[in-house]
Symmetry: C2
Subunit: 304 residues, 2 copies
């Protein structure tokens, strides 16, 4: 089974109380692919970069099963760049610079080989761009996941609602779920959002874990209480990538697989935040991932 | 096995976005006893009230296994009164009135029959008062739990550290754990606090659940995603009461029983917040509690 991931491949400059990482690799597609590559080697990446993006990073992706046929490299142009500074609590952050560069007129054109991908992860982009990806698919995907943010709810709610209607799972954080639904209670928010199209809803709660809603059911995975969160950048995309990578590997997007997928996604995200940029995600062994996953199941294990 | 609970029996006026409840029953001992009474009928309550406290409420407690020999009723005086207003998010709150009344010079004198209680729940009080209770015990309790708040960390850190040293489990919220330890990471905070005396630490995270730390182990119980939180007053005390009531019923304060205790405590707290004051806690059946508990275990159940 194949996984299509559409989003950004970019540079970040990240300031945290622990230090500064200048112009390091980032972007939703980068994190999604790296996390997913631990579960499937059939990943179709669709994004745009300038010719300033390091070949070595692209080489790492390729070597890990990421097809880059859909990565547009714009000669003489610069990759998308974000510069952010995290607050002391490592949750709040200020954006200091956003240089859209090549992203300003990103119009994803899927190579033919991508158009029959079985699983689709639509990263956080303009809703109309997300929709244009779906309309290019020549085979109905088995399962589509969508990430978005409050910015699009503020300025493009109608196009956003249209694309939300087309997807199977929406992956957003608690504040986004509240804004989208107009409900403070996450249970009520979920009930409302599940009438908007998606059969499944994942609400990410950062250091408090994540929840999966489906019909009247709810599954909760807490976040591991880590000694240190070093750099939260990309944690959400890594979570989504681990989740979708695992689901793709099963071929069956049902509730039980999604529960496992959320744990795999959380485990990958816990590696991600331990180092700057994508460093924590590189060269993990299956043993390391397995051991991290077992910490999640152990943490909630109880016999009543 | 017997459970001694020391704290307040009081009146609250509560304002929430859903309405106002004027001069309703509250106080840590009230919530602790009511929750604990579903697990043990050998509860020794120690608190002080004025003669304005309704006999009917005391009658309900007595009928549910709560010994009131240690409840001092001060003639011609008024019970402790708190008036608070919750913010729209139902988490933040402002205190509008605090009338200490009888609590101003509360000096708990344990009846002889209380002095050999096996389990002790020290509610949030002046640390020196908490210590005076422990010095009155003629038999070393099997297990002592302590609740406190940031107020005492601000003005009475040394006496607080002294009483913390004497207890087996400290039950505080995330912000209190951070203040007590000076660590932002809850994992690091826990490691530090577990060197201060207690072998166990429970960190309450409100709508995000609760965590139990012991040596290198951690257990996490998420909160149920409720449709509506109607009144959060007393949720923390109810949680502590359910926890201690359950542990008392087992007689064995080990890690496995504490894990179960935290789930029972969380289940009782979820009933508590559904109604004003103690109303949600009254006249529950064992079936209702069992069914709520099974929601907690179902919510995290996954086979990897």
């Amino acid at each position: 089974m194949s996984l299509l991931t559409v989003g950004t491949v970019a540079f970040d400059t990240i300031e945290t109380p622990y230090g500064v990482a200048e112009k390091v690799v980032g972007g939703s597609c980068t994190y999604v692919s790296m996390a997913a590559s631990y579960f499937t080697k059939d990943i179709n990446l669709c994004a745009v970069v300038g010719d300033d993006f390091p070949q070595s990073e692209l080489g790492y992706m390729k070597a890990n099963g990421v097809n880059l046929d859909g990565l547009e490299i714009k000669k003489g142009e610069k990759s998308f760049f974000w510069h952010g500074r995290y607050h002391k609590d490592m949750i709040g952050r200020d954006t200091l610079v956003t240089d859209l560069n090549v992203l300003a007129d990103f119009n994803p054109i899927l190579p033919d080989s991508y158009k029959t991908s079985d699983f689709v992860m639509l990263g956080n982009l303009t809703p109309s761009v997300q929709m244009s990806v779906l309309t290019q698919m020549t085979k109905k995907p088995k399962f589509i996941a969508l990430d978005t943010m409050n910015f699009w709810m503020d300025i493009a709610m109608q196009p956003l609602l249209k694309v939300i209607k087309k997807v199977h799972v929406l992956i957003i954080n608690d504040e986004e779920a509240r804004q989208l639904s107009g409900e403070r209670s996450l249970r009520k928010a979920a009930t409302k959002i599940l009438t908007m199209g998606p059969k499944y809803l994942i609400i990410k709660k950062g250091e408090h874990g994540a929840m999966l809603f489906h019909k009247d059911e709810v599954f909760y995975v807490p976040a591991l209480p880590l000694e240190e969160v070093f750099d939260p950048t990309g944690a959400g995309d890594t979570f989504a990538g681990g989740f979708m990578g695992y689901i793709t590997s099963t071929g069956k997007p049902n509730f039980e697989n999604m529960k496992r997928g959320i744990i795999y996604g959380s485990a990958l995200a816990s590696f991600c935040v331990e180092k700057f940029s994508t460093e924590g995600l590189k060269n993990l062994t299956q043993e390391e991932i397995k051991s991290r996953v077992s910490q999640f199941t152990k943490m909630v294990k109880v016999k009543i």
